[in-house]
Amino acid sequence: MHVSMKWLKELVDVDLTVEELVDRLDMTGTAVESVRAVGEGLDGVVVGSVLTKEPHPDADKLSYCSVDVGGDEPLRIVCGATNFEAGDCVPVACVGATLPGDFTIKKTKLRGLVSEGMMCSSPELGLGGDASGLLVLPPDAPVGMAFAEYLGQADTVVELEVTPNRPDCLSMVGVAREVAAITGKHATAPVSVPEESGVPVHDAVSVEIADPDLCSRYTARLIRGVSIGPSPEWLAERVTAAGARPVNNIVDITNLVMFELGQPLHAFDAATLALRDGKAAVTVRRAGAGERLTTLDGQERVLDPNMLVIADDSGAIALAGVMGGENTEVSDTTVDILLESACFEPTSTSLTSRSLGLISEASTRFERGVDAEGCVRAADRAAALMAEVAGGTIAPGVVDVYPVPAIPGVLEMRIDRMNAVLGTGIPAGEAAGILTALGLGVEPVGEGLLRVSVPTFRPDLEREIDLIEEVVRVWGMERVPVTLPGGRGRVGRLTSRQRWMRRIDGAMRAAGLNETMTYSFVDPGDHERIRMPLGEGETLVELVNPMSEEQAVMRISLLPGLLRSVSYNQRRGVPDVHLYEIGSVFSTSEGRKLPREHTAVGGVMAGMWSRPGWTGDDHPLDFFDGKGVIEALVDELSPRHFQVRPADLPWLQPGRSAEVLLEGKVAGWLGEVHPSVADAFEAEAPIVAFELDAGVLIATARPVRTYTEVPRYPAVTLDVALLVDEKVSAERVEHAMRKAGGPLLDSVRLFDVYRGKGVAEGRKSLAWALSYRAPDRTLSDDEVRPVHEKLLRKVCGAVGAELRS
């Protein structure tokens, strides 16, 4: 809502500066979006009088003029406009003036002739309006006067952000009433009493509302014999200040009254309406399926029965509350005006305007709610202005069909309740004063109770709490004392799951990974690119209205987003990438409403931990760096059993691909990303990645660990190298050792894996340090040796190993 301060001051005796008023509006619930001074940037623009106008000798479309701007010599100006003659007064931008849009006027040559300025149209001066020709001023305009001064428009336009609950503030009168209430002043509303003559409107117009659920009131007035023309300056200026474009006197009046009173109006050319029994017969009805209407913007619209139209016997002539029809539009030849002032139902108007992509000043007001009680007043005001400005005569009477009368609400407000909700001690009298200033009827009934009648222009006030809000916003939220809730017996604490999530998060960082966030929605092709299958019967979660095809489905894995981040870093010369993300992944299946959502813990690692330094202890990251991260996490969560098992997963490189099992349940996967998958994301392999399901991590985590005695006696450690087939996993050998070792075997540590010279092709040497220990004594070599030898015999038998000498 654009509010001209000049206009506002005619309606309310506000004596604050603009800044003070803006602050007060901000602090009472009407946010100010911008403050704009009109007429700014018009320095160097003056009123000029065209002395001579001759055709340009070398250009058909240009003329060559001399223009008196009050200086010693007239200016010579080349001009392309045609709507003026010698003797006319026009605004002239002199050399050096800077017009809106940062356009500076210079002395130039146009087709060989010097031009010392520019005669201006209204839009060129930032005033809106007609761009087709110069802004021709009245002949008595004072030549040489600064144009801004001539306009007398040191006006300021304040743009208000009107919240959806305040339809009344989409009018100057409503804003004036609000301003009066918050500044302790008085607002006045313009009243027009139309002078009527001629054949009564009832003899010329009939109205029928077929669907009263969508139209609670429809009034029509008839104004005969108008002459259509440009609006007088005051009218054009006002409409421009409110943000509309001046069209002609009739349309501008409907707009003016809409801005002034908040009631959208529509003017039909009465002669274009089909007659029934000699009357223009207007019907308000739902559109037929497939019914067509060409709207004012020249577009043919296909309608459906959810839309309300204004129709005559020939068909739809306007889209109710949204836009008029082209066939009944007011034109230069229009003589009689049928003026519509009606109240259409908000939801239907809103759906219609949105489904057609037609948002107008009228639809914006109807969808928030127009006061049905104001229809006649607005029609009277517009009719009177049409008579005044366009020379029409107003037919006596108003056709007023009002099947669903608006009834002022009556509410009660308990002062105790108000103060209990707010935490204040506002006296009843003060609260009553605030509500009265807002235009409500307030009557104290009994101790601490107000009976409040709510005028129909405040449809948002339906309950006691609505009145309480009105009081506090005007009384001042800043005055409400600050307290903290008391509340007994509450405990602030994270849930067990949340605490585990924090530990998982912490373990990831302790292991050296940095947290990132990627988009929850991905390209549907991403899942093909990573070749990750969905579960049995599961499908992707699709967005109905994605921003783009690249973000059309919800991710089933964090991997695509993380691979994109690897690529992002690599392409910017950052080779060392260590990222993790904890976030939701989604899937659904036929028959489901809400998708499944799981929290996943994913990571990617590429490059090295850091660039090689002087200590030379860095290496390219591989599978075992990823496994190390997971082992560190497992150490933190302490599940009873943890296993990494080879698995063929299509998005991982074969042979460097594994499942992670916790207590026998698959918790996720780990491996090096398949080079062709990395390639599909423009990332450079090797990339280590993993993803674990947070649910399984938490389900298998042990909140309480058990104590085992810290060893008191030394261990005997013996090293042994075993030659085994390549196929035999380290895990299998270790299992065999633990199985064969008996109670004295304390720990098993693999410290070398060797292939090559001295080891047969297809075999490998695994070197182990075996520690033996007794809880109650120091073991002797003699005691350990037979146990160790027995272990080796058993292990060799179990896994086909031989001792490497």
Binding site: M477, V482, G492, V544, N545, H578
Partner: protein, 352 residues
């Protein structure tokens, strides 16, 4: 030469050799030469048997003195040499302490989650529990039960992401029953369905709106929702809580102000500003010359919302608020482009 003289001369020459010994090996050689089984002093003492009974005590005394003196000298010299050897070894071990250390740096938490954790900690300190809800949500929780009328603009397909509804009879049009939640407020309703007052919860989480990603918008971002429902909760309690939290988050010297606003699910509603951290309220480019920065929306729980979850608004009142985490991040760190938060650039992530 008397035996005593011989002993004294032996002592003097041995002491001389001890003092000359350059290292522990040379010193040991001296010890063996003098005190060893075949050593010179040992040899002299072996000759004691030939002495008369009168001479023996005096010579014996002197010889013991000589032995003791030599042993002391050997010990002292040994300590000296050992210390010198250690010093030499230590000196050889000196390093350039300005060389970089061996390290594996721990990772950093994402800025958004750092802030979220900070807010969570503030509120757990105030006695709040932490609640969560799904990111793909039903229209009912996201809009209807939060008092949004059917035509509320936020429900349009231009503002909200809708999810294909695969249930039987699920809507197939552009607007379905399932959506990506546009705020964390649906958690309010879910909590109130599960739990009767007193309720003190905080619900952080990811939310989605159909905004094109640009320096100040992302189609996904994060909010932190707060909800209190108890007997006797007032608007003053809401003010006090948020004032405290803003001071914890932004600094004790920051002020807050409450501007009345409109939200469908709270009444009265307000937007909260904190005084600008750049200009301390005097107005600057950063706060668009207002002296204030908007950081959250809040209000008293609308009685209509209580209606959906069967709580008597005459008995209980409550407040709710929602803050944008990206907004707080942008304010605290002056981040020029929110898209940096989702790019995963290591050079950005390592900064916080």
């Amino acid at each position: 030469m008397s035996i005593i003289t011989e002993l004294e001369s032996l002592r003097d020459s041995a002491l001389e050799r001890i003092s000359q010994a350059a290292d522990l090996a040379a010193l040991d050689a001296v010890r063996v030469d003098v005190l060893g089984k075949k050593g010179s002093l040992t040899g002299v003492l072996r000759g004691l048997g030939a002495l008369s009974a009168e001479e023996r005590p005096a010579v014996g005394k002197v010889s013991n003195q000589v032995r003791a003196a030599l042993e002391r000298a050997l010990e002292a010299r040994k300590a000296l040499l050992a210390e010198a050897a250690l010093s030499a070894r230590v000196a050889a071990d000196a390093v350039d302490v300005t060389l970089p250390g061996r390290k594996r740096l721990p990772g950093r938490a994402h800025l958004i989650n750092q802030i979220t954790a900070e807010v969570v900690d503030i509120f757990t300190g105030l006695g709040y529990a932490i609640a969560e809800g799904p990111e793909a949500e039903l229209d009912y929780y996201n809009f209807t039960a939060l008092n949004h009328p059917p035509t509320h603009p936020a429900r349009s397909a231009t503002d909200t992401f809708y999810v294909r509804d695969l249930s039987e009879g699920g809507a197939s049009g552009p607007i379905t029953d399932v959506l990506l939640r546009t705020h964390t407020s649906p958690v309010q309703v879910r909590v109130l369905e599960q739990q009767k007052p007193p309720v003190y919860v905080l619900a952080p989480g990811r939310v989605y709106r159909r905004d094109i990603a640009d320096p100040s918008h992302l189609p996904q971002f994060h909010q932190i929702e707060g909800l209190v429902v108890d007997e006797g909760i007032t608007f003053g309690d809401l003010k006090g809580t948020l004032d405290y939290v803003c001071k914890e988050l932004f600094g004790k010297d920051r002020k807050t102000r409450f501007r009345p606003h409109f939200f469908p699910f709270t009444e009265p509603s307000a937007e909260v500003d904190v005084s600008c951290g750049i200009c301390a309220g005097s107005g600057c480019r950063f706060c668009k010359y207002t002296g204030w920065q908007e950081i959250l929306g809040c209000g008293m729980v609308d009685p209509n919302v209580f209606g959906y979850v069967d709580i008597d608004p005459e008995v209980y009142t409550g407040f709710a608020f929602g803050m944008g985490v990206e907004r707080i991040a942008a304010l605290r760190y002056d981040i020029p482009d929110l898209r940096m938060l989702v790019e995963g650039d290591m050079r950005f992530l390592r900064q916080f």
